[in-house]
Amino acid sequence: MERIPILKIGDFLLVTVQVDMHDRLAVTLQDDLTDRIVSSRARGVLIDISALDIVDSFIGRMLGNIAGMARILDAETVVVGMQPSVAITLVELGLSLPGIRTALNIDRGMDLLRSASEETGETASAGREDL
């Protein structure tokens, strides 16, 4: 089955979407990511969409779902690399991606994740010891 690869870098997961996803593939990614957050104890997820020419309401909803599920699993999500034309279109479509953190590129996204995990790092890791 077709899948989008998920890479682990330190405490974070990195997903680079490089294909025009059909809906089922997007749902598979959502499921795979939630599994990987738990199995790898990741503190953050970075989703690079710089190769995506469009983000429609389905992909937008999937990004929101991922961010929501990750948050419940104690991981932050940052969507990076959105093309300006995609941002313009999304807003006109009526989708402002509430609840999703974004950054211009992977470097800035990583910085955001690192500072988020440092803020909550101590209490969160203490909590995890109890699991």
């Binding site: 025009d20 059909h22 809906d23 089922r24 909803r61 034309s85 313009i88 989708l95």
Partner: protein, 135 residues
């Protein structure tokens, strides 16, 4: 209105939505639409093609390059033989959905196109036409 070029693609499965997006992209590029305009029409096409597959039980998309005095445009028609829409006005409003989507497809596509036309009746399927002119 003179049609320079026309083509049709089936919309039966999710993969057809991807194919429709790619087809619309290549025609939008050929027409010379700006990147933002390409993105808008492809996004609208994605919403409407998905609607035809999911809510309409499948159908087709017709692409046409139009020529009017002094301007050219890309017209897309989405047709299905599904259950049709009972209350078009309600279906057009943001946030209204009969499925599990966000309910942005119809209203959003209208905002992304220069012209939007919808015909639908219960039991008679749905036909939606959108046009984006080259500015």
């Amino acid at each position: 209105m003179p049609v320079e070029k026309t083509s049709e693609l089936p919309l039966r499965a999710q993969e057809d939505v991807v194919a429709a997006r790619q087809f619309v992209r290549s025609w939008a590029v050929e027409l010379g639409l700006s990147l933002v305009d390409q993105t808008k029409i492809i996004t609208a096409a994605s919403e409407l093609a998905r609607n035809a597959v999911i809510h309409g039980g499948g159908g087709f998309i017709r692409l046409e390059i139009l020529q009017e005095t002094g301007k050219r445009g890309l017209r897309l028609t989405f047709e299905d033989q599904g259950p049709g829409i009972l209350d078009i006005e309600k279906a057009m409003s943001d946030g209204y959905t009969t499925g599990n989507g966000l309910g942005l497809g119809l209203g959003g596509s209208k905002r992304l196109a220069h012209e939007f036309f919808i015909e639908s009746a219960p039991g008679a399927g749905t036909r939606i036409t959108i046009t984006r002119w080259k500015s």
